[in-house]
């Protein structure tokens, strides 16, 4: 990785083009899919099952 970084600095012409393309993508990438209904409108968690009522304690009614 260090070698790649050093080589990137050495090849300035390439790195400028690289940075422009990458920076442009990074700027817009979050906007590309954040409003998709599957991500933005779906419920956060699945709907829970409806619970049964707790059993009535007949002793209490006596």
């Amino acid at each position: 990785m260090q070698q790649v970084a050093i080589a990137l600095v050495a090849q300035r012409q390439v790195s400028v083009g690289v940075l422009i393309v990458v920076a442009a993508f990074l700027l817009v990438q979050d906007r590309l899919d954040r409003s998709d209904p599957k991500l933005a409108a779906a419920p956060l968690v699945p709907l829970p099952d409806l619970p049964y009522e707790p059993p009535t304690n007949h002793e209490d009614h006596r």
Partner: protein, 530 residues
């Protein structure tokens, strides 16, 4: 329906479930290059550590960026960051495993397709774009010497071919899956629509309420310019043109209105066609006088009919359904007509229920022989009338009628003659009493009439006496009547009936065939004595 699908959040897979599946796929894809390194020695262009260490790091990032406890917005941003890291990782292992000629391009295809289907179509396209950028960079770096060239045999042609096939695949899958999903969403929407309609219709208590609900559904959900529901009762056919009475509920952009229509439905018109057709009728409304009254100026309409068992017919009329948001409406989507048919059938069964309840309620409150109210209906109506009159400070009269010598009539002419007499008096009470009056059979040969404020009880009773004398029944028929009034003779139903009964007894004692007005009870002495 055909409007842009209004996605209901509850109909979507939850965000957390979707993220769990995405994480699983990401971990599998991260592990695949490690497996390829182990299984394909010939493809190795880097050391074991250079592949495994980034894989572990990326897997940790993937797990961290799928943490569920973040708010939704933050979760989407963090997921985006994790996908960027995935892209860099795939670019790196591409370099480590023989470049474009190695196994990683295929792994990348699996990765972007899985994300397209599991996350979202837009996410799939975004990831494909990022992967393309990284791929071009790795290729470029190898070409200019920033990275050692691990696949000298792979040229720009290989790169272009890989990117082309990747994009064609992703776009095709995304488009096909989107089309399928849209159709499924529409069907689910239709199903939800009918379910909600069914639940709402269950709460309706009259046919007009059901009609209003159906008309609003036609306007709002089936996208008609206007929608009308006709509850059609046929009164018989003559000259091949049925005479009908129709209660029409029209839903138009500015609200709902009710129209009553009666007359003959001319043959060949849109409504006539609908009443005789088993399938929906799609045609112009121009030549139909009924629709011209109900939906003035309507152009093309869809008519859907459903019979109410043993009673009336429900006809749903939709003006240009589904066309409101279309640039060039040519026809009507079949799915929309099917939904209209199902909703109309559901409405018809609900109308049948409300009409049945009405008939049962009427039967329970009606005396079967005479057609006037029965004793239970009298008790309820008199109590309500007394309460209303007392609250409003109005008067009220109660008439008790008893047929004179009814037993003699039965003994002389038979019980059928007695029944005829009762029926005749019942018919008289049903047809000749003033508006607002209520009549009921009090028991045996006795009837009770409740007269509202403004109607003279004595005058009405005398008129009834005269009319009874002229009834066409076997033998002479007369009636004695006792009249009481609120508040003079009592302030409760029981007191008024008692006063009228006493007056009736007086009429009988005085020789029958007459009217006797109850003597007012003594007014309380309000004077203060010292």
């Amino acid at each position: 329906m055909s409007r842009s699908p209004r996605t209901r959040p509850t109909s979507l897979v939850s965000f957390s479930e979707r993220m769990a599946w995405v994480l699983l796929v990401r971990l599998l894809v991260i592990a695949m290059p490690v497996g390829a390194y182990w299984l394909l020695p010939s493809e190795r262009t880097a050391t074991w550590a250079e592949v495994v260490q980034p894989a572990v790091a990326t897997a940790l990032v993937a797990a961290a960026t799928s943490w569920k406890r973040l708010p939704r917005r933050a979760s989407i941003t963090v997921l985006g960051f994790g996908l960027l890291v995935d892209g860099v990782y795939l670019g790196w292992v591409l370099h480590c495993l023989h470049g474009l000629l190695g196994p990683v391009p295929r792994i990348a295809v699996v990765y972007v397709l899985a994300l397209t289907l599991l996350a979202s179509f837009r996410t799939g396209v975004k990831v494909t774009l990022w992967h393309s950028i990284v791929l071009v960079l790795v290729f470029e770096f190898e070409q200019v010497g920033i990275l050692p060239d691990t696949s000298p045999a792979a040229g720009p042609g290989h790169l272009r071919w890989h990117l082309l096939s990747l994009w064609v695949l992703v776009v095709t899958v995304a488009a096909f899956a989107a089309a399928n999903e849209r159709e499924l969403r529409r069907r689910r929407y239709d199903s939800d629509l009918l379910r909600r309609f069914g639940l709402d219709a269950e709460r309706c208590t009259t046919g007009t309420e059901v009609g209003s609900l159906l008309a609003v559904l036609g306007r709002d959900e089936l996208l008609a310019r206007r929608a009308a529901v006709l509850l059609v009762h046929e009164d018989g056919a003559g000259d091949g043109t049925p005479a009908v009475r129709a209660t029409c509920v029209v839903a138009q952009p500015d609200g709902v209105r009710e129209v009553r229509w009666s007359g003959r439905v001319p043959a060949g018109g849109a409504l006539s066609d609908a009443l005789t057709s088993r399938v929906p009728v799609l045609r112009s409304a121009d030549d139909d006088p009924v629709l011209a009254d109900v939906l003035p100026g309507a152009g093309r309409v869809v008519l859907v009919r459903a019979n109410v068992p043993g009673s009336s017919t429900v006809v749903l009329v939709l003006e240009e359904p589904g066309g409101r948001h279309r640039l060039r409406p040519r026809g009507v989507p079949q799915r929309l007509v099917t939904t209209a048919e199902q909703a109309t059938a559901q409405a018809a069964s609900t109308v049948a229920r409300t009409e049945l309840v009405d008939r049962l309620r009427t039967a329970a409150a009606t005396d079967g022989l005479t057609g006037v109210g029965n004793r239970r209906a009298l008790d309820q109506a008199l109590a309500a009338a007394v309460d209303d009159a007392r609250n409003a400070g109005r008067n009220l009269s109660v008439l008790l009628l008893d047929l004179d010598h009814f037993k003699r009539l039965n003994d002389t002419h038979g019980h059928e003659a007695g029944d005829d007499a009762l029926r005749a008096v019942g018919g008289l009470l049903r047809t000749e009493l003033p508006v607002g009056a209520f009549s009921a059979r009090y028991g045996g040969e006795e009837f009770c009439v409740v007269l509202p404020d403004g109607v003279d009880g004595t005058v009405t009773a005398e008129a009834l006496c005269r009319r009874v004398r002229s009834l066409d029944v076997p033998g002479p028929l007369t009636v004695s009547v006792g009249v009481s009034s609120l508040p003079g003779d009592g302030v409760s139903a029981r007191e008024l009936l008692h006063a009228a009964d006493t007056a009736l007894y007086d009429a009988k004692r005085a020789g029958r065939d007459r009217v006797v007005v109850a003597r007012h009870r003594e007014e309380p002495d309000l004077r203060v004595t010292t």
